[in-house]
Every structure is written in structure tokens, then in C-alpha cells.
Symmetry: D3
């Protein structure tokens, strides 16, 4: 039973700032530099969701990409796109929206909706030069 990883790209544009509300503003500036600008900055996030599992012999699919695309749109893109992550996405009310934390949030939102037998990995490009990968480890 061949196990293949299938990957699907999507994208969303959002504003954020890096900020730890337990710290003073001075400490936020010291640690996060210009990323802590209180007026926010933003990114074109490119998201790759990967699922790994056996090929279904009847369809030749690991998972129907049309279904994965639908889940990604409903759970992630519709919620994050053209939003201010700090101000408008519930998960970041008390969580600093670093790329690392965003990837974990996305993974946790998708995991219950994807067959448990499939391994799930989230890759998130914050810029073309910075990206993160989370597999639920």
C-alpha cells in the first residue's frame, strides 16, 4: 500500500504585530524590533497543507484535493484573509501571532477535519524568505 504525501497551496493576506501582553512595551520593542510596531504591518501568507497516507485503489487519491481545498478555504482562508490577526482572529487574543504559532493554530483547526489515518503537515511562508513547518510533533 503506497503512502504518498499530497500538498495543496493557498494564500491569505493579513496584518499582525508581534506582541507579548505580559511584557512592557519597552521589552516588546527590545525583543521584537520593528515587528512590534503597534500600528501593525502585514504579509502575504502562502500556506501549503500536506496530507500523507495510502492511495485509495479506486480513486487513485490519497484525499480528494477538491475536499481539502474546501476545508482550507472554510477553516483558514475565509477566517484569516484580509484580517488583522491580533485583533480579529480569536486564537490570537492571547497568543503572539508569530509564524510558528500561526502554523500550530492552522494545524489544530485542520486536524479534526481530516481523516485520522492521514498525517498532516502545515508549511507557512510569512515572506518568500521566512517560512515554518509544523507536523504536530
Amino acid at each position: 500500500m503506497n503512502k504518498v504525501t499530497v500538498c495543496r497551496k493557498a494564500h491569505f493576506n493579513a496584518a499582525h504585530k508581534l506582541y507579548n501582553s505580559d511584557w512592557t512595551d519597552a521589552r516588546n520593542t527590545l525583543v521584537f524590533g520593528k515587528c512590534s510596531n503597534p500600528n501593525f504591518h502585514g504579509h502575504n501568507y502562502e500556506l501549503i497543507v500536506s496530507v500523507k497516507g495510502p492511495i485509495h485503489p479506486e480513486t487513485g487519491f490519497v484525499m480528494d484535493m477538491k475536499e481539502l481545498k474546501k476545508i482550507m478555504n472554510e477553516e483558514i482562508i475565509d477566517v484569516f484573509d484580509h484580517k488583522n490577526l491580533n485583533e480579529e482572529v480569536a486564537e490570537f487574543e492571547n497568543l503572539n501571532p508569530t509564524a510558528e504559532n500561526i502554523s500550530v493554530v492552522i494545524w489544530n483547526k485542520l486536524r479534526p477535519l481530516i481523516d485520522k489515518k492521514l498525517e498532516l503537515t502545515v508549511t507557512l511562508y510569512e515572506t518568500p524568505r521566512n517560512f515554518v513547518i509544523f507536523s504536530g510533533e
Copy 2:
């Protein structure tokens, strides 16, 4: 005298919203949709600055790219990167920061600093799927 166009890429990350302050909020939402989110969203802007002119016979350069890179950093990247364009960049105090308007603002900031004999073009990617080009016409 061969005329060559020389192009240099740079990038900045910024927050913005599309907003016409002469309009009601309802009209802003009607025209600009989710781009008018009052909490802002953001982009990784990729900027290409092009200068066209004769090759200098001694250097083989149209313009020293080290000099162009320095001008781009000082005039554009240091001013726009990790900023909220609506709130923190003077040019957009009364100007809607659409990609079109941003490209004109960048062109106007660079034009006085580049030899008048060189033609100047600004290309600005707001996302990998949307971009604009302005040559001062």
C-alpha cells in the same frame, strides 16, 4: 550608444486598508470590500525599480546598482517596511494606498534622486497575483 534597462528588486512588508475619507463607511465597504477592513490587512510588497539609459563606457554600467540599492533602501524600504501605510507614511495621509497610488508615490520619491537622463519605471507586486507598473506618464 546602447540603451539598456537595469532592474533591481527589493521588498517591504506593510499593513494598509483601502479607504476614501470623503466617503461613508458603507460606501467604502461597497467599493473596496474586505480590503477596507478598518483593522487593516497587509502584504509583502516586492518592488522592482528600473532605470534605462546608455551604458557608461568606462564602467559598463547604466547606473551603479550599489547606488540604486542605497537610494531604494533609504527612500523606500526604511520608510515603508514594517509600517502601517495609512497611519505612518505621510504621503498616504490623504491618499488611498492602492498599489497604483503606492507605485506613483515611490516613483515621485525616487525621481529627483536619479539622473534626469535615465528613464525610471516602478513595478510593485502587492501579491504574486496582482502588480502594477508606473513610468511617469
Copy 3:
């Protein structure tokens, strides 16, 4: 009145073969090589539509990209995507679907739907290594 070019990317996947029905099969093979395979081959076409014109002072737009996206989807993507260009797209019934001819067909389909005051250019990538540009000249 600043004139800016605004560009929007989209994509479609299609099958085609290069074939001149006025020629013998032998001549088709001689001229078009493996591109004339009677069983078809295919491409991921990447399409960039560019419109050039003055920035509207109220919106900061040359043209609302949401509107351009809608026109591109309805006129081109919905008609060409996952199709066999030779067999299923009326314009190619008697026209060889080379990248050159496809770009002209796309331009002709879009031209009547875009404000006459705006200049229109179609860029079409047949592969990442082959692409064409048509501006209605």
C-alpha cells in the same frame, strides 16, 4: 493624470495539439514535431492580463481588480480550464492553438468588456520557459 498598468494573474489547465488541417499529417509532424501528437498533450497556462490607464481619483484604481478578475473568470478560465482547446473551444475549430493564437483569442474576448480608454495586454505562459505577449497591435 498618472497612467498606471495594472496586472492580474490567473491560470487554466488544458490539452491541445498543434495542427494545420490544410496540411497532410506528414507535414504537420515535420513542422510541429511532438507538439502535433494526435492524442494531445497539455499545459498549465498562466495568464496575466494588464490594463493601462489613468488612476481614478476617487478610488485610486485604474480598474477594480475584483471586476477584472470576474471578467477573466467568466470569459477565459471557465471556458478554457480543463478543456481540450482543439476539440472544445469554438475559436480553435479552424485556428491552430499555438500560444500566439491563444493570446490573440483571449485579447479579442476581453477587449469588448474593458473600458475602451484602457490599453489591454495579454501575457500567456505556456510553460515557465515559453511565453507570449499581445497588445492588440
Copy 4:
């Protein structure tokens, strides 16, 4: 003995349709949607073949890329490029040419030709937004 993964890109253009010959046409359309168009559609497939193993101390190579390129051209590109996968590639006579199945076919064709001590992985982009990875698991 340092183990490095060495990766080489190539590409081919092909037509295909998704189709299970054990099903009715109605069921094929229901499951595969526009991908089951009987007239075929197509893609620019981008292929990355990766081999992992120790660096040979005399050459500094894991495997001579010129040799890998030759194998990829003879076994895959010459056989798949500008072809109709369903109609002209023997492996898909009774196998649905999904990206998943294509990646397994490619892996099985390459495996006997590459040193058994090297791990082999095939990555296949069907479009810039959909890709699959197979490592023989």
C-alpha cells in the same frame, strides 16, 4: 560518513484525464468533476528526483548528477513528454493517472536504475499549487 540528499529538477508536458474504467461515466463525473473530461486536459509537470546517501570521498558526489539527469531523461521525460498519459503510456492502461499514481510509477521506473544504497524520493508538481511526494514507503 555524511549523508546528503541530492535533488534534480526536470519537466514534461502531458495530457490526461482522471478515469476509473470500472465505474460508469456518471460516477466518474461525480467523483472527478472537470478532471474527468473525456476530451482530456493537460499539465506542465515539474519533477524533482532526490537521492540520499553518503558523499563519495573521491568525487564529492552522492551520485553524478549527469548520470541522474540521463536516467531521468531516458526513463521518464522521453516516455511522458508531449504524450497522452491515458492513451500512450503503458503503465496507465489500467491505472488512473492521478498525480499520486504518476509519482509511484516514476519511482518504480527509476528504483532499479539507482544504486540500492541510495534512498529515492519523487516529488511531482501537477500545477504550481498541487504536488505530491513519494519515497517508496
Copy 5:
């Protein structure tokens, strides 16, 4: 008679240094900085050759891309690839191999081999962040 621009990409890897033999070494270092390193550095050059002209009604081609590819390989890639431009390419014996000058040399080598009725443009990426365009003006 529709005029289309047809573009073809190729690539070569080469070493070079920027150096004006009429200058002292000190002046070369002052003007060209680390690019004048006497031991050379190098680039993956990406070349795009564009030809513009009417579509031939029988073929649907502006120019047969197989022919253009052959000319590019014979005249440019075979001559420049894996070479030291300063030491091994005759045109740069007394000409500084800046991207600007390389683009003019390529244009001059290709011009006599391409139908005079077709306009010729050479785009040369020295890096993904620096590129030049020459159209024979």
C-alpha cells in the same frame, strides 16, 4: 496582421569579475567593490530572448521556438556556459562583463541570425534580484 512577442528562457552558469584594464587595481576596487575580486565570482544567468512580429497564418507561429532554442544554444549557451567570461569569451577580452554589456553582446550575436522583420529583445537575470533588458536601441 497581429504582432505578438514570443519569449524563450534558457540559462548558463559562468564566472566573471568586473574590471576595467585602463584603471589601477585600486580604482577597480573602489568602483566595483567585491565584484572586482581578481579570483572571480559567478552567477547562474537566466536569459530570456524575445522576438516580436506577425503571426504566420499557416503555422500560427511568430517564429518556430525549436529554431530559436537551437540558435540560443549554439550561439550563446554553448559559448558561455561553465565558462569564465573574462578569460574565455572573446567579446569580453576588452569589454567589462557587466550584465549590461553581456546583454548587448548576446543581442549582437543573435541579431544576424533572426529574421530582420522581427524585433529582438534580450533580458538577462544576473541574479534573481538584478536584471537588464536590451532591445537594440
Copy 6:
């Protein structure tokens, strides 16, 4: 404790040749072909450094990317950029600068400077079509 992989891109341009000094020139040419050109050729190397570990609960970072960027610049970019790897980088005095060996050298230079609890991977693109990955195995 979620473990995330964080990746940062950088780039350098360098000259090199493939050469084993224990071999005759004839054998070097036989094995390395045009890559053994004694006058050197060169590449735009694109480097991705990845570190994997738990997210720090206070910062939301696996590792501060500003710190990783600084280490990459000081240890790799400043040492390799615009250099002749064979002639000017001490590690390659007796080591053939294949992509494989360069990736191991980079890994060994970075490893002592990055927290031992973080896993380190180096990905190095020699060209957009050839790349290698080393994780210290």
C-alpha cells in the same frame, strides 16, 4: 510542547570548479566534464537554513530569526559571497566544492553557534534545478 521547523533564506554568488587534486587533469575532465574548467565557472547559491525545536512560550519563536540571519551573514554570506570557493575559502583547500561538500561545510560552521537542542538542516540550491539537503546524519 509543539516542535516547529523555522527556515530562513539567504544567497551568495561565488566561483568554483570541481577538481580532485589527487587525480590527473585528464581524469578530472573525464569525471567532472565542463564543471572542471580550470578557469572556473560560478553560481548564485540560494541557501535555506532550518532549525527545529519547541516554540518558546514567551516569544512564540523557535529561535529569533534576527539572530539566525546575523549568524548566517557573519559565518556564511560574508565568507562565501563574491569569492572563489577553491582559491579563497579555507575549507575547500583540500575539499572539492561540490554542492554536497559545501552543504556539509556550511552545516559544520553553523552547528556550534546554534542551540544544541535545535535540529539543524542546510538546503543549498546550486542552480534552480540542482539542490542538496544536509541534516548532519
